[in-house]
Amino acid sequence: MDWGTLQNILGSVNKHSTSIGKIWLTVLFIFRVMILVVAAERVWGDEQSDFVCNTLQPGCKNVCYDHFFPISHIRLWALQLIFVSTPALLVAMHIAHRRHEKKRQLTSGEKVDIEELNKQKFHIQGSLWWTYTCSILFRIIFEAVFMYVFYVMYDGYQMPQLLKCSAWPCPNIVDCFVSRPTEKTMFTIFMLSVSGVCMLLNVAEMCYLVIKFCMKAPRKPATLK
């Protein structure tokens, strides 16, 4: 049970997505999930053990670390990736429902080739269009919310080298040093940029779907004539 499970679930939605949706999924898995697993987790691996405060007072380091890092960057990114991927499940459920309906219609008449039915691609039309558009909207909202939470929690996107801590039981203002601040800043900016790119892709996909829908609607009366 790991990111591979998410990949399998989202992969099944992939064939029914638009081209922009497919690009978004690729960017998500290569530039975010993979970077998180193979690189970022190692950078943040020793974040607490190498967080050093200039005091021998027991407990001061723990309290200061907790004060400055209420929730670690790595965990926030993991939650962001999970939340941003989940709206695609709405689409997966809708497609499964449509397949089920089709199976029920066909079993009463003809023979059903289940393999073919499972491989069949559904076009983004009708109620599926609404589900797909809602899922993109939720993705954009989740991305924006997490980027805002990052900004508010860490007062910007830079990792400082030195933090001054005066939380009890530290006896006075104590200097605490974060491990690998520059590397962490680089990864934070990288993940932020890729989040931004994903958001732009989602906005572009949404515009494309809306334009496609608007262009189809006025054509219908012309064909009826």
């Binding site: 027991p58 670390y65 790595i74």
Partner: protein, 267 residues
């Protein structure tokens, strides 16, 4: 043997579940199992190493950690995930039993082995009750063991061999608190889904039973009505044949009622 094993077993339950059951399964996989494996486990990774007490007395930290964390929150979470997922296996076992029964007796006993009726419906309802019970049980256990869902920064410990009341500091308390709240929210959501599914199934099958009984009643009433409709015509014709009735009455072929008994008999 890892969480993937549980995931593979539970994926088999999906085909015998209702729509709400499938949503429950998706929430368990993504918001509970996946979050546990990729995020939460790392938060509690060094919990004892980073648990620090303001004392140099050997053994004091160990004793205090053991006193405040009789069972680690992450292990309790893992147990909860396992216990809450396993009642669904009852349904899989029942379907497998039905299939083996059909194979053994070599005849079709059920519409399909996975159709939700009779015994399988009872098994499904029992599994829902157990799932809900386990969820509530674990939430109550979390609450009583840790005095709520709060993780304090500082705990005061006076167990032997600590010489007096000693300050001990828990590592990453805020992050742990966030994940505990996450556990509570997802558990509550799963409880709500289970209760909805239970109500929906009970309601659906009660209505189905009532409708079937009502239809049977209507049918028996209809057949009784039809019997009553033809009885007067028959008795009248036999009475006419046996009595001293006028020839005009006997030779009346156009009366519709006299035709009906013969039609019915032929039908």
């Amino acid at each position: 043997m890892s969480w993937g094993f549980l995931r593979d077993i539970l994926s088999g339950v999906n085909k015998y579940s209702t729509g709400i059951g499938r949503i429950w399964l998706a929430i368990v996989f993504i918001f509970r199992l996946l979050v546990y494996v990729v995020a939460a486990e790392h938060v509690w990774k060094d919990e004892q190493k980073e648990f620090e007490c303001n004392i140099r007395q050997p053994g004091c930290e160990n004793v205090c950690f053991d006193h405040f964390f009789p069972i680690s929150q992450i292990r309790l979470w893992a147990l909860q995930l396992i216990m809450v997922s396993t009642p669904s296996l009852l349904v899989v076992l029942h379907v497998a039993y039905r299939e083996s029964r059909e194979k053994r007796l070599k005849k079709k006993l059920y519409k399909t082995p996975g159709s939700m009726d009779g015994g399988l419906l009872c098994t499904y309802l029992i599994s829902l009750i157990f799932k809900t019970g386990f969820e509530i049980g674990f939430l109550v256990l979390f609450y009583t063991l840790y005095g709520g869902f709060n993780v304090p920064r500082l705990v005061k410990c006076d167990m032997r061999p600590c010489p007096n009341t000693v300050d001990c500091y828990i590592s990453k308390p805020t992050e742990k608190k966030v994940f505990l709240y996450f556990v509570v929210v997802t558990s509550s959501l799963c409880i709500v889904l289970n209760v909805c599914e239970l109500s929906y199934l009970i309601f659906k099958y009660t209505i189905k039973c009532c409708l079937e009984r009502y239809e049977k009643k209507i049918q028996t009433m209809k057949s009784e009505c039809q019997k009553l409709k033809y009885v007067p015509a028959e008795t009248a014709s036999t009475a006419l044949l046996h009595s001293n009735a006028s020839p005009e009455l006997v030779n009346m072929p156009d009366k519709p009622e006299s035709n009906l008994p013969t039609d019915l008999r032929e039908g």
